[in-house]
């Protein structure tokens, strides 16, 4: 038989069905043997045209639309939008509202980082860590529900302030929750830096040097794990972050392990910040008056989402609707790094490298989930169960 020394080249399509996380994206990975030689990304499976939709809705309606871009970091989208619009309208938000925005943003970061920890552990085949971290994440989800009434899309923000105040009972619950989470987080930091089997999947894998991270324009924990000091909360403090300064978490190694360590260490910083906000919560109003129409102007609003810098460009034209809202989410900045880093790695490392940036495709594609016409605002467990059964019969009989 003819002995061909050249390695055959295959193109393996990965996705669109959950290439790593349970969200859609498509990667065309060219491999020679097991080694990746080229990677191309195709997004948009969750694209719903939200940027266009903002141009035909008024300022208030857009808040609720934009908050639904993402189910994980909904609060930060609303915050970015509110800050931009408030600046356009020259409205000063009361200090108490600014502080509570920070509080909820940090609770959201905790839930997002714990969610990611679980998913990334699952990608590495470490399902025990996945289950523990998601169990513990319920603590912070309960706190968010307690504060806002919702587990996701908390809808805390309104233009000109916030709508949920915080009382002494809630403060106590938050403090108790944080104590528990802090102790658990210490354990997770220990696990991801010492478990030999796990380290084989993370240490020295997907290394991105500081220079590469800068050139590729990475943001958030992905950049900070490569030693790039990029954090909007520190660089350009918004909301009440100048009253509660954030300590930057940096790691120099730039591999997957560093991305785990950065995010877990950031959790401690979240706990510290929340303590500080609760200890020094200013008193006063929650909202201030917002005009319905906004004079023609442009603004840029940058905030630090759990995944990195979230960038909003907002242009008003004097009417009650925006002229243009441009949303640039952190995942798209980090996506280029996945495509570049995958080259030279084993195919089996690709899902881990992708999970390493904590991708959020809904954010990326700017999706909205359409409700299926349940008219009631509130449903009891029983009613929900009856609705489910009726729905099932209606569709299958």
């Amino acid at each position: 038989m003819h002995q061909d020394q050249t390695v055959e080249r295959f193109t393996v399509p990965i996705g669109p069905q959950h290439p790593a996380l349970k969200e859609p994206a498509n990667f065309l990975i060219t491999v020679e043997g097991e080694i990746v030689t080229k990677a191309v990304v195709r997004l948009g499976y969750a694209h719903r045209g939200i940027e266009k939709a903002t141009e035909s809705r008024n300022w208030v309606q857009n808040l609720y639309l934009l908050e639904r871009i993402c189910g994980i970091c909904s609060h930060i989208h609303a915050t970015a939008y509110c800050h931009g619009v408030e600046r356009l309208a020259n409205v000063e938000v009361p200090p108490r509202a600014q502080a509570i925005r920070v509080l909820v943003a940090e609770l959201e970061r905790i839930h997002s980082h714990l969610l990611w920890l679980g998913v990334a552990a699952h990608e590495a085949g470490f399902d025990t860590l996945f289950m523990y971290s998601w169990r513990d994440r319920e603590t912070v989800m309960d706190l968010l529900e307690e504060l806002a009434g919702n587990r996701v899309n908390y809808s805390v923000n309104v233009l000109g302030g916030i709508k949920n105040d915080i009382d002494a009972g809630q403060t106590q619950k938050i403090l108790a929750g944080l104590d528990y989470l802090e102790q658990r987080t210490r354990h997770y930091l220990d696990v991801v830096t010492t478990d030999a089997g796990f380290l084989q999947r993370t240490r020295g894998v997907g290394v991105m040097t500081r220079n590469q991270a800068e050139v590729l324009g990475t943001v958030g924990p992905t950049a900070r794990a490569s030693g790039v000091a990029r954090d909007i909360r520190v660089e350009a403090p918004y909301a009440a972050y100048d009253s509660y300064p954030v300590k930057l978490t940096l790691e120099a190694e730039g591999d997957l392990e560093a991305r785990f360590v950065v995010r877990i260490k950031e959790l401690f910083e979240c706990y510290r910040l929340i303590h500080e906000v609760l200890d020094n919560l200013p008193s006063g109003d929650l909202t201030t008056r917002m005009p319905r129409r906004i004079k023609a102007a442009e603004t840029v609003s940058r905030v630090e989402a759990p995944r990195g810098e979230l960038f909003y460009f907002i242009k008003s034209n004097g009417s009650d609707m925006p002229e243009r809202v441009r949303v640039r989410t952190p995942t798209i900045c980090n996506m280029t790094s996945v495509v570049k880093l995958a080259v030279g790695h084993q195919l089996a490392d690709v899902p881990m490298i992708l999970a390493g940036i904590d991708p959020c495709f809904s954010c990326n594609d700017r999706m909205v989930i359409v409700d299926r016409g349940i008219r009631q605002q509130c449903m009891s467990w029983d009613a929900l169960r009856r609705y489910g059964i009726a729905y099932y019969h209606g569709n299958h009989s």
Partner: protein
């Protein structure tokens, strides 16, 4: 301590951006619409690559986003905004391009991260990005009708519904 270094970084970045755009390239209009923001209006897309190259050489900021703007049909123009950020500074290069022949050069040879923004700009605004290695759709479906650009002001969402649903 950190605060001072950050604000120094911002001030230095803005000064450097002003130097590059006004001293090295003449006849460029600059504006400071908000604190920490510098808008530079380029005469045409021809100036884009030299300026971005100069910024890269000076390590001035990272490309944070590319925004397309359609000022409306009567303007007969589109505008592409390149936002560079560092510290709290936001330096925006504003490139006006003719509506009937919108072309900008690709930044991806200088800034690899620009590729995804440029692919989005192409499909959403119908701006041709010359020299872009991968010019396929990033977000829109493969069967999206040709020469239909959803973020332009003259885009009609109803027309799309009729084409994609085949008159059902």
């Amino acid at each position: 301590m950190i605060e001072t270094t950050t604000s120094n970084k911002t001030v230095e970045a803005l000064a450097l951006a002003k130097e590059i755009t006004t001293a090295w390239f003449w006849s460029l209009e600059t504006a400071e619409p908000e604190p920490n923001r510098l808008d530079v209006k380029l005469a045409s897309a021809d100036d884009l690559l030299p300026i971005v190259t100069a910024m890269r050489v000076k390590r001035l900021g990272y490309l944070s986003a590319i925004t397309g703007l359609d000022p409306g049909l009567e303007a007969d123009q589109l505008e592409v905004l390149y936002h560079f950020c560092t510290g709290a500074a936001i330096i925006t290069l504003r490139v006006p391009i003719p509506r009937h022949a919108p072309v900008v050069p690709s930044l991806s040879p200088i800034i690899p991260g620009a590729e995804v923004f440029e692919r989005e700009l192409m499909e959403m605004f119908g701006v041709t990005v010359s020299g872009l290695p991968i010019a396929e759709h990033l977000y829109l479906p493969d069967d999206w009708p040709e020469a239909t650009y959803p973020l332009r002001k003259d885009f009609d969402p109803v027309s799309i519904r009729l084409t994609t649903e085949g008159g059902r």
